[in-house]
């Protein structure tokens, strides 16, 4: 393992400290916690809290800012934060209008956020929760815990954040978030695994000429391992899977996100985007807006994910609404 760290057990705390210092004008770290919170909350709005394990930077703290999240709870690497920390985040952002929790669909995250929600409610705070499950690589059936939440979560942050900033009620913000969840799908691939600092070795092994299709964002193995092909072939395969799952057809309009997993050169992300764009045009699907960059990473994994959000007039307006979050300006 070769990493720029101090003690592998302290990477999360060390990062939160540096991250907060870099954004002192916008953020505070809630004392005694690993919660990053907006310094000044917009008056009288519904609170928005998200979070999860670390190792996905800029997610989720990078989306804390006016027009997006009010607070992000940072867990240990790839590990859900604990209920006491989430509760502190809820209390920090509640202004009496209730708080919406945006959670990625992993057993750990769901259980911890659920417990925190129950604790907050026992203190008289109204809490609602939405669960993002955009990853089509894994099966959504009675025999699994349902699809995972990955990069599509960033669109949900943006949509819910804009809605809350516009003064909507808790129910309205939740409805907007659920609409986005309903209409967003993603799929990813990897060329290399990643190493959790405290584990010290990679989570799987890939030969020089192999790739893993359908990976998650925690170094989980993918759903299929095969010989690496061209950027075009990979982009077409992932996009086609998403198109099919979202049942998109000619005339539909989408927002596109090509997300780097942590160690992918931007050059390669743009190459991929070229092919995604080409394929969508071929299918006569209109591209409303394109986002290329690192939004939801998996430590130093090389690879990318593609996310499509089907947009209508409401979602387009919410996507365009101003955001001051450092990792998603609008």
């Amino acid at each position: 393992m070769k990493k720029i760290i101090n003690n592998p057990s302290n990477v999360m705390e060390d990062m939160v400290k540096g991250m907060t210092l870099a954004n002192e004008e916008q953020w505070i770290q809630v004392e005694g916690t690993n919660v990053i919170c907006r310094k000044e909350l917009s008056a009288n709005k519904v609170g928005l809290v998200s979070g999860g394990g670390s190792g996905h930077e800029p997610a989720h703290a990078g989306y804390v800012g006016k027009g997006m999240l009010d607070a992000a709870v940072v867990g240990e690497v790839f590990t859900s934060p604990t209920p006491d920390q989430i509760l502190e985040a809820i209390k920090s952002v509640d202004q009496g209008n209730g708080v919406l929790l945006i959670v990625k669909n992993y057993t750990g995250d769901v259980l911890n956020f659920e417990m925190a929600g129950e604790l907050a409610e026992s203190e008289g705070i109204r809490v609602e929760q939405v669960i993002v499950n955009d990853d089509i690589a894994v099966k959504d059936s009675d025999f699994t815990i349902g699809r995972r939440g990955i990069a599509g979560t960033v669109f949900v942050h943006k949509i819910a954040g804009a809605k809350a900033e516009q003064g909507a009620s808790l129910e309205e913000v939740k409805a907007a978030a659920e609409k986005a969840i309903e209409q967003v799908r993603s799929m990813g691939m990897a060329l290399t695994p990643c190493t959790v600092p405290d584990a010290g070795k990679p989570s799987f092994h890939l030969a020089e000429d192999e790739m893993e299709i359908g990976i998650g964002i925690h170094g989980e193995v993918g759903t299929e391992r095969k010989k690496i092909t061209s950027a075009k072939d990979i982009a077409v395969e992932l996009t086609n899977n998403i198109l099919e799952d979202l049942s998109l057809s000619a005339g539909d309009e989408v927002a596109v996100m090509v997300n780097g997993m942590g160690a992918t050169p931007e050059m390669e992300l743009y190459i991929v985007n070229g092919h995604v764009n080409e394929l969508l045009k071929e299918k006569q699907i209109d591209i409303h807006q394109t986002y290329v960059g690192e939004f939801m990473t998996s430590l130093e994994m090389a690879g990318f994910s593609i996310t499509l959000l089907k947009v209508d007039a409401e979602l387009k307006q919410l996507l365009a609404y101003p955001s001051e979050a450092i990792a998603f300006r609008a």
């Binding site: 057990s9 394990g53 867990g75 240990e76 690497v77 790839f78 590990t79 859900s80 934060p81 604990t82 209920p83 006491d84 920390q85 992993y106 057993t107 750990g108 259980l111 911890n112 659920e114 417990m115 894994v138 099966k139 025999f143 699994t144 815990i145 995972r148 959790v196 405290d198 584990a199 989570s203 799987f204 998650g216 925690h218 170094g219 989980e220 193995v221 759903t223």
Partner: protein
């Protein structure tokens, strides 16, 4: 019988096992999960032992409550809420008991096993820690007296039974048939908890 001192001893032994097997638990989790189980359990139980050393206790229920709250706030992942809930239920079931006997412990462990199932919305046969807790409780209830050796054996067999199961809960569920052939990491950490309990029971 279980006393304050024995619970402290139980936690110390559990912690030693989690530290010794940190890499092994993480390896099990790399095969079918997200590679953090050993890291989380070793951090959680280290904190439990620290917490218990700093405080003085009059009864078993209060020690177990501190165990629960520490696990809940220090473990993270899915295991934090699940083990936290288990020890909280155990603590509640033993409230007001000066001496914890075999029957009390049976009721307590049953409450804990039910708590895990309720929190995780899971049942037996799904390749999770439930597959250790439920058989251990059932076996315990059928015993006439405390049988430490038997406890260790039943817990171990239960853990090993997860190897041939196909996961339908937790992250391993995505692997479906590919999850067969691997022991569930959560069942292994649960085995360590029962093995340590067996060592302190008198």
């Amino acid at each position: 019988m279980l006393t304050v001192q024995l619970v402290q001893e139980w936690m110390k032994k559990t912690n030693e096992r989690m530290q010794e097997n940190k890499a092994y638990l993480t390896e099990l989790d790399q095969a079918i999960g997200d590679s953090d189980h050993g890291i989380n359990m070793s951090r959680g139980f280290r904190e439990v032992v620290n917490k218990l050393e700093q405080s003085a206790y009059d009864d078993v229920s209060t020690v177990l409550k501190d165990v629960a709250m520490t696990l809940m706030s220090k473990v993270g992942g899915a295991s934090g809420p699940l083990y936290g809930t288990a020890f909280l239920k155990l603590s509640t079931a033993l409230k007001g008991k000066d001496i914890v006997n075999k029957e009390d412990l049976a009721a307590g462990l049953e409450a804990a096993a039910n708590g895990i199932q309720h929190r995780g919305k899971s049942t037996t046969g799904e390749k999770t820690m439930v597959d250790v807790w439920v058989p251990v409780v059932l076996w315990w209830k059928g015993q006439d007296e405390i049988n430490a050796e038997g406890l260790e054996k039943v817990a171990k067999e239960a853990m090993e039974s997860t190897k041939s199961m196909e996961a339908t809960k937790g992250r391993a569920s995505y692997l479906q048939a590919k999850s067969v052939g691997h022991i569930d990491p959560g069942s292994t950490s649960s085995y360590y908890i029962f093995k340590s309990l067996a060592e302190v029971l008198v």
